[in-house]
Amino acid sequence: MIALIPLFPLLGFVINASLGRRLPKTISGGLASLAMLASFAVSLAVVWQVASRAPAQRFVEQTLYTWIASGDFVLDLTFRVDPLASVMILVITGIGSLIHIYSTAYMHEERSGEYARYFSYLNLFAAFMLVLVLGANFLVLFVGWEGVGLCSYLLIGFWFEKKSASDAGKKAFIVNRIGDYAFILGTLLVFVRFGTLDFQRIASAVAPLGPESMFGTLSVATLLLFIGATGKSAQIPLYVWLPDAMEGPTPVSALIHAATMVTAGVYMIGRNAVLFSHAPETMAVVAVIGASTALMAGTIGLVQNDIKRVLAYSTVSQLGYMFLAMGVGAFGAGIFHLYTHAFFKACLFLGSGAVIHALHGEQDIRNMGGLKAGLPITYWTFLIGSLAIAGVPGLAGFFSKDEILFETFAHGHQILWVIGILTSLLTATYMFRLVFLTFHGERRHDAPAPEDAEEEEPSRLSHQPASGASHRHDAGSHLHDAPTAMALALIVLAFGSVLAGYAGVPRALGGHNALGAWLAPSFTARSVTTLADQQVGQVGEAGGAGETGAAGLELSLMVVSSIIAIVGIGLAAFIWLKRREVADKAAAAFPGLYRLLLNKYYVDEVYDAAIVQPIRIVSQEGLWRGIDVHVIDGAVNGVATIVDGWSSLLRRLQSGSVRAYAGSLFIGVVLILGYYLWR
C-alpha cells in the first residue's frame, strides 16, 4: 500500500523516459500528472488509515525486503507513515500534482522530446522525494536525499544549452555534495553510537539519556546532520546554490526550491526531533543559523530585481524561520510553517511563472508594472500569496509564523525573536515591493494594453519561457493571462494559502492547535511511553504552551507581528507606489550598503576566492602539472623505455630459425645433464 505512493511517479518516470519522445505532449504530460494524482489519492487513503488509530501508535509500516544483511547488521527497505510523514506526503503529492498540471501548460512550447524529458525528471523527483519522507531509516532517507539532489541538478540545468543554466545545475549539485558528505558522516556516527539506523530505534535509544550537557557524540552527529540539512535546505553557509537554481523552469522552482526539496532538511531534523533535542548545543546552532539566514536573505531580497530571485531569497529566509523553530525546539511550529509555506510559496512562484509566461521570458521587475489589468487571475492569486507570506492576520502565513515567533519568545530567545520580527518586516516589504513593481504603476514593458486585443501573436512556438531577455523582441505580442491549467493551479493554491493556516489555529485564538497535536507523537520516542509523555511535554510545546497562561503573551506577540506586517506593506506602498525616487535616494544615501546587498554580501565571490580558486590552483599546478605529468606519466614512460631498451638487446636471440631454438634447447639439456652427472 505505502509502496504504491512512490511507485506511481516512478512508473510515470519510466514510461516518459523510455518512450516519452514518441508520445504526444498531452499524453506524456497527462500521464505524469495522473501518476501524481494517483499517488495523492493513495496518500490520502494511507493517512486516513493512520489517522483512524489511537495517537500512541499512529503509524503504519511496510517492509519491502531486507536490503542489506551483513553479519549482525540488518537493514530493511522499510517505509513508515507517521503523522509527520503523512503531512509531508500530502504536501508533496498534493502540491506536486498541482504543479504538474500547471507545467502541462507552462512547458507547452517545448519540443515534445524535451517535454517528455521534463516530465520524466519531474516524476522521478517526486518519487525520490516520497522515498525520502517515507524512509524509516537513515539509509532509505539518504537514497531519497541523493535522488532529489540529482533531480534538482537535472531540472535546474534543464535548458542546458544555456551556459548559466548548466552552471547553476553544477553549482547546486556540488554545494549539495558538501552537505551530503557531512550528512553521511553524521549517519555513520549515529550508527556507531546506537548500532542502528532506524529512526524509531534511535529515538527510543536516545530517550532515556538526559540532554547532553557537554559537547559530545550526539552534538557532533547532530551537527553533521544539520550541515547536511543546510546543504539541502539552503541555509548559511550553503545557501548560495538556491538563488542560481532559478535558472530552471519556474514550476521546478516552485516544486523543488520552494515546496518540497528544500524542506527536506527541516523534515530531517523534525524526524530526529528526539535526537536533536538531546543536543542543546546543536539546537542553539540551528536556531542561530536559522535566524541569521532569515534576516540576511530578507535583506538581500529587498534589492533584487529578478522576480524569481526575490522569491528565491524569500524562500531562503522562510526556511530560516523553519530552522529557527526547529532550533528552539518548536518542531511542530516548524513543520506547520513548512506546510503553510509550501502553499503560498508555490502559489507565488507559479504566479511569477505566469507573469514570465505572459511576458515571454521577461524576468526583470524593472521592466514590468501595470500588469494588474492584463493578468487579473495572476494578480489576485499573487496578491493573496504575498499577503499570506507577509503574515497578514487570517492568512496561512500568519498562524505559522506567529507560532514560531511565539515559541521563540517563550523559550526565552528574545534576541532571536527580535531578528524574527525584523525579518517579517523585511518580508512584508520586499514582497509588496515585488507586487507593486510588477502589477501596479505604469507599464515599463512594450507589451500592448489588454484592450487592443485584435492583434494575433506572431510566433507562438518559436519562443521558450525563461530564456532571458533574448525574447524581448517578440514580447510585443498579445498579453495573455494564465491558461486554464495554470489558472486552476494558481487558484487552488491561493485558496490553500488562505485556508491552510486553520489547520493549526493556536489556543490563544480559541482554536486548539490541531496540527501540533497531530504531529506531537512523531517527535517522541514511542516505545518508551513513560518518557514519551515527558517528551511530549518537553518537545511538543506546539500543543503545550497554550495552557500555561501564556495565552496573553501570545496574543500580544500576535498583535505586534501583525502590526509589523501592516507597516511593512505600508512602507512598500509608500515607497514603490507613491514616491519611487525615495528608493533611489536611499540607495544613493548608502551606496556601500546598497551595493553590498545587491551583490548578496559578495558571498559567492568570497567562496570563490576562499575555496574554489585554491582548489583549482592546487589541482592544476600541483596535481596535474606536477604529480600527474611528472610522477605518473614519468613512471609509465620510464617502464616503457626500460622494456624497450632490454628488448632491443634480447631480440637478437630471436633469430626466427627453428633450428636455432631447438639447438639452444639441446644445449640446455646437455648442460643440465652434465651438471647432474658432475656432482
Binding site: 633469430s655 633450428r659 639441446f666 644445449i667 646437455v670 652427472l677
Partner: protein, 177 residues
Amino acid sequence: MPETILFYLFSGVAVVASALVIGQRNPMYSIMLLIASFGALSALYIQLDAPFVAMAQIIVYAGAIMVLFLFVVMLLNAPQEDAAGWDRTHPLRRSGVGRFGALLAGLLIVQLVWALSRATGAATAVGARGDVAAISSVRAVGRVLFTDYMFAFEATSVLILVAMVGAVLLAAREGGR
C-alpha cells in the same frame, strides 16, 4: 644365446638405419630406412615380450605415419636439400654449426653412457622379473589401459581429434572449400 645374437642384430640394424636416415640427402630413402629401423625396433619389442606393442609399432608407424610422410614427399615432389643462394647468409648455414651439433650429439651419448655406467641395476637381465605370459598378453595390457589409464586414453582420443582438425585446416588450400 640365439636371442643375444638376434638382439645385437636388430639393434644394430635399428641404429645403423637411423644413422643412415639422417646421413641421407634424399628424403625418400630416409623414409624407407626409417621404416627398416622401425621394423628392427618392433623386433626388439617382441624380444621384450611386448608383441602387441611391436605390432602397433608396425601398424601405426610403418603403416600409417610413414605412409603419410611418403605422401607428403611425393606430393611436394620433395626436392633435394636446397642450397638456395638467398639463405647462404644465414648464420646457421655456416658449416661449423653442423659440426657443433654433431659434437653435442656425441657429448649426449657420452653423458648417457656415463650415466648408465653409474646407474645401478643396469646390469640385471631385462626378463628377470614378472612372468612372460602376463606381460605379453594383450588382455593384461588392455585391462590396464582401460582402467588405470582411462583418462589418459580419452585425452589422447581428444588429442587425435584436434590434430585431425588442425591438419585439415592447415593443409587446406588458401580459401579452399
